[in-house]
Symmetry: C2
Subunit: 139 residues, 2 copies
DNA sequence: AATATAATGCAACTATGTTGCAAAATATTT
DNA sequence: AAATATTTTGCAACATAGTTGCATTATATT
């Protein structure tokens, strides 16, 4: 596991540091998206807040994770699929937030719909955010 | 104009105060969505930050405005259509943010698409956020 | 092992948003 | 129209989210 994480960092020409290993591993272990606060907590407060922010920034730049616009007021981060590269995200899937357990899922296999815009408008990116109950909580 | 705003407040059994009049009027004059910071600035800093926050909260509760999840980290507020009432928003339209002028449009006549979710998932609300160039900037 | 490069932690700062409470303004009653 | 009851406001204080500069430390390179 750690080796796999290691080689991901190498592949993206990122130096290997404890914080990057821990945070990237955390993403690979989690099913949903993570906020800065959750990452801080789940890494046991062993890293400085600023370090976590900067690690997340670097990961976004390298195309390892992407941000999700959230109704709460904190940026959500989630793992990108493998075809995302530096400066070129394939972020055309929809996101689902469970009202009960608050998990945010990337539904990678469901692509965003094409929506016709009024005259003159040019679309560049579409974000779909669905809310409701996830499969676990809907029972 | 002020009379119309006045009667909207009365209709929603809200007492008439300078801040409510000014903020509601500002929404009716604006084409797009507004953030707290913009409202504070456009009302000439004559109202306390807290007053603006509370006014926005009340307007949301009464169904006069709705919030829009934003990629930036600040809540966007926009006027509701007339069929929105207290506790019952009809917020099923899509939103468009212009990359250039940063205006957020409510495209009221474009309804959110129906998207099939994986087994077990139950949808309650769908937010669509499109980004690109608006009709004004796309020239 | 020595050097160059990059990342970290700390302090300080900005922005956003919330809560409690006394003072002031609005609405209601007489 | 004045007095009372009810809301709303502004202030202070606080909480959370996020950024920047800089010296120290760790990683990578030679």
């Amino acid at each position: 596991m750690t080796d796999a994480i290691n080689s991901i960092l190498k592949k993206n020409s990122l130096s290997i540091t404890p914080s990057r290993l821990a945070i990237l591993q955390l993403f690979h272990q989690s099913s949903g998206a993570l906020t800065h606060a959750v990452i801080e907590q789940k890494t046991g407060d062993q890293f400085d807040r600023v370090t976590i922010y900067r690690t997340l920034q670097v990961f976004v730049e390298k195309g390892l994770i992407h941000t999700i616009p959230s109704p709460d007021n904190a940026i959500l981060y989630a793992l990108c699929k493998e075809d995302c590269t530096k400066g070129h995200h394939h972020d055309n899937h929809i996101h689902f937030i469970c009202d009960k357990c608050n998990t945010t899922y990337c539904l990678d296999h469901i692509t965003t719909p094409n929506i016709a815009l009024p005259k003159g408008f040019k679309n560049k990116q579409t974000d779909v955010l669905m809310k409701g109950l996830c499969a676990h909580c809907n029972q």
